[in-house]
Amino acid sequence: MFTYSFLQHYWWFIISLLGGILTFLLFVQGGQSMLFSLTKNEDERRILINVLGRKWEYTFTTLVTFGGAFFASFPLFYSTSFGGAYWVWMAILFCFIIQAVSYEFHSKPGNTYGKTTYQVFLFINGLLGTILIGAAVATFFTGSDFIVNKGNLTNQLAPVISQWGNEWHGLEALLNVRNWLLGLAVFFLSRTSAALYFVNRISNENLEKQSRKAVLVNALPFLVFFLSFVIWTLLAEGFAINPETGVVFMEKYKYFFNLIEMPAVLVLFLLGVVAVLWGIGGTVFNKNFKKGIWFTGVGTIVTVCSLLLLAGYNNTSYYPATPDLQSSLTIFNSSSSEFTLTAMTIVSVLIPFVLAYIFYAWRSMEKNRTDIADINSDDHAY
């Protein structure tokens, strides 16, 4: 019914979409990173924690599903990147482990380490989780230090097929300025989105005022870092694939050409950017505008999705190997078999139903904005 190539493209789209959704949902992390800067007392902190606390599992689950979907659809990426960029992924995982318990534990008697410790955990997750995920994704454009040789499997004394080229196992990505640009862009975007979310959800005059200020204060560096990353990437060399031979080679302005040669992606990218700016601008310039999170949120999903499509579509290597270009991963050489992709495609038909019940549940819980009285009357409040 579908060709293998179609299925590979389809699954790279799903991965890109999940990446976009994850980036949007990182507003939870952004909010966590502002726990101390946005609030002036414990009540306000409690409001933020509870408003974020009703959403943290969506981000966590999306991250886990992102990993699982990558494993199922592009297992060579899963094995090469996680097994190779070990320290980056471990750092990300530790950030999220400490987040997972913090909401539930932080105000409970007997939590052993005190409320502040868990709030610091949330802050660490907010700061490092976003920057590291952003930097890790940037390596899709900047490359990583690994070699893949499947023939190693027959060497009984050294059967490992993907080898990382240095002992830093991924941390060396932080020496690349372009990786920092995307990491910081994700960090400031997450804070901007969080502030927009607070404007939408919280019924507290001071918090709303501080949040509107925070939108502007964070949106400006976000735009600087994001635009710097995008412009640099569009002007840089990219990792192109010869469609006939499968050979990977460096091509000038590769990502720029991808954008031009895929007008649908270009349009999506631009619409996404406009939506992000609309959400931010509307909130900054109009005191009555509270729906900014939805424009920025949808815009984020669309923009990030298009960026990732640029990385993997149009004969581009999405996970380039800098010491040996021919070890680079493409959607063609790293994907699961046609059978598995077909089986997973059938499962993916259920995704709209999942989104529908999430939407329904989200709306049923958020009929009114939240204030301290709501939290005090909720016996499961954090």
């Binding site: 886990v64 094995s79 409970k108 097929i161 078999s337 009357s377």
Partner: protein, 517 residues
């Protein structure tokens, strides 16, 4: 290219064991308590009795604390196949990755969505929607267990795939075969045994309230639900346990031999009910009796393993020597399997070389040799027969202790079910049984972990039974890297466990709201 450090394999195993066992402290309580609280909320919904609402909310608070740390310890497992077992992830990821992805899409999102309504929606949504959310939360958790257990079952009994020499990996050819009877039985056994853990928890905590003469009505209501639920779960676990062992006999004979301490097979093999292994036995092929002492039922192992009281059950020596009449049809000795495995490895190597040299005739010949010997591919990595023998004492004692505990649980829940319904028994005065119930809480956890020791240690040296050994499965990392992350996980998880236990104890001490002493 660096040579593989054998200690890297062992430290990677240790890390996976540590993280999995920590995760498994919390998951059974989630799986079982999720059902118990849903039953209690259903009773509240149907009767309108507010006391059942308070009962439900009390257990739900404990559920929430436990769930959070279950999630925290679970995320590393999702990614650890990649971080520490990258060769494995490539070699079998085409089959193994799909259940993990489905787990995320179908199960985790259901849990994450409806748990929010369950915790925070009491005053925001209708009673009916809230009840549905409580059930959907545990349905999500159970579905999550289903998919990960399908994946684990496939490691024990790999089916539905074919090796592709061009991509150098196994590829799925049948999705439905993966949902095998082995997988279904494993899922049921694991989930039902989790219900035991939760039932013991509820029973024990409720018993504490009765010992303290507190919240008596709440405690009795909880005991009634826990006793019946626990008894049902214990019986179902025993039945599915038999199914598990039967499957092991068919597909993992070495594991069964280890479970029973069986070195020399027999027709009409006996089942060891209780035994002490001899420390004089140093090698699988010395003639020392493996048992210092045992109580056994004649022919019972043959009956349970093959449903035939005279069937031959192979021991460790038979599996290594080969040549016995096997129900699975595999009579080859270790030496023969190893030889074929090495032929397969060499043939794959030669095939790749021939392709690179564009020698299609040689390539076809090597491919044919490879596929003819592929069933023993994994044996090509092994050097000695000892490598195929898992740690017999650990598996033997784990298995037998787990079964003994299982029988104790049936007895305990039977007694409490009886006492809960017998009108002339005053439960709060049965101090001896209440203390037994309280002290039995950790036994459920112990039995549950022992089951996993049998399942996973019994599969050694394989990550995928007969297909891929551990030494060919690891990532190319330094031993120091793995030691560091293992130490960090140990420290963090232990710290969080301490916090979790203290919070639970405090929450229990607070008691259910609105109840009078």
């Amino acid at each position: 290219m660096e040579l593989l450090d054998v200690s890297l394999v062992n430290w990677s195993r240790a890390q996976f064991t540590l993280t999995a066992m920590y995760h498994w402290i919390f998951v059974p309580l989630t799986l079982g308590l999720g059902i118990i609280q849903a039953i209690m909320e259903t009773i509240y919904y149907r009767t309108g009795d507010e006391k059942w609402k308070h009962v439900t909310k009390f257990w739900m608070t404990l559920f929430g604390v436990n769930f959070a740390i279950g999630v925290a310890t679970g995320i590393i497992l999702e990614f650890q196949f990649g971080t520490n077992w990258s060769n494995y992830s490539w070699f079998v990821g085409d089959i193994f990755g799909a259940p993990l992805a489905i787990e995320g899409i179908l199960a985790f999102f259901m849990e994450a969505t409806f748990i929010s309504i369950m915790f925070f929606g009491w005053n925001k949504v209708s009673k009916k929607f809230h009840l549905v959310s409580t059930w959907l939360t545990i349905l999500g958790a159970t579905l999550s267990a289903f998919w990960i257990l399908v994946a684990n079952a496939w490691m024990q009994h790999p089916v539905g795939m074919e090796f592709n020499p061009d991509t150098v990996r196994n590829e799925m050819v049948s999705f439905w075969e993966i949902l095998s009877p082995f997988a279904l039985n494993k899922f049921l056994h694991t989930v039902w045994s989790s219900w035991i853990v939760a039932s013991l928890f509820v029973l024990g905590v409720s018993a504490w309230f009765l010992i303290k003469k507190r919240d008596i009505d709440f405690a009795k209501k909880s005991i009634k639900v826990a006793a019946i639920f626990g008894l049902t779960a214990s019986i179902l676990t025993a039945l599915s346990g038999d199914g598990s062992a039967y499957n092991v006999a068919q597909h993992q004979p070495m594991k069964l031999a280890a479970m029973e301490g069986l070195y020399d097979g027999q027709n009409g093999a006996e089942l060891v009910a209780f035994g002490v292994l001899s420390s004089d036995k140093k090698a699988y092929n010395d003639s020392v009796d493996p048992f210092a002492f045992k109580i056994a039922f004649p022919k019972a192992l043959s009956l349970l393993a093959y449903r035939d009281i005279n069937a031959f059950v192979p021991g460790v020596n038979d599996i290594i020597k080969g040549g016995y009449e096997s129900k699975t049809g595999d009579k080859l000795s270790f030496t023969e399997k190893q030889a074929r495995g090495k032929v397969a490895l060499q043939a794959l190597n030669d095939y790749k070389k021939a392709l690179a040299e564009k020698d299609t005739v040689s390539a076809a010949s090597h491919k044919s040799t490879l596929m003819a010997n592929y069933n023993y591919f994994g044996y090509g990595y092994l050097e000695t027969p000892e490598e195929t023998i898992p740690n017999v004492p650990s598996i033997f004692y784990s298995f037998h202790l787990m079964v003994i505990l299982g029988m104790f649980f049936i007895a305990l829940f039977s007694v409490f079910t009886f006492m809960s319904f017998k009108k002339n028994i005053i439960l709060e005065k049965q101090n001896l049984f209440l203390w037994i119930a309280l002290l039995s809480i950790p036994l459920g956890y112990v039995a549950s972990q022992l089951g996993w020791i049998v399942a996973e240690l019994g599969r050694q040296p394989w990550t995928i039974q007969d297909v891929l050994p551990l030494k060919a499965s690891v990532s190319g990392l330094s031993v120091m890297s793995v030691k560091i992350t293992l130490f960090l996980f140990l420290t963090l998880f232990t710290a969080l466990l301490v916090a979790e236990v203290r919070i639970l104890v405090k929450q229990i001490g607070k008691g259910p709201h609105e109840e009078s002493k």
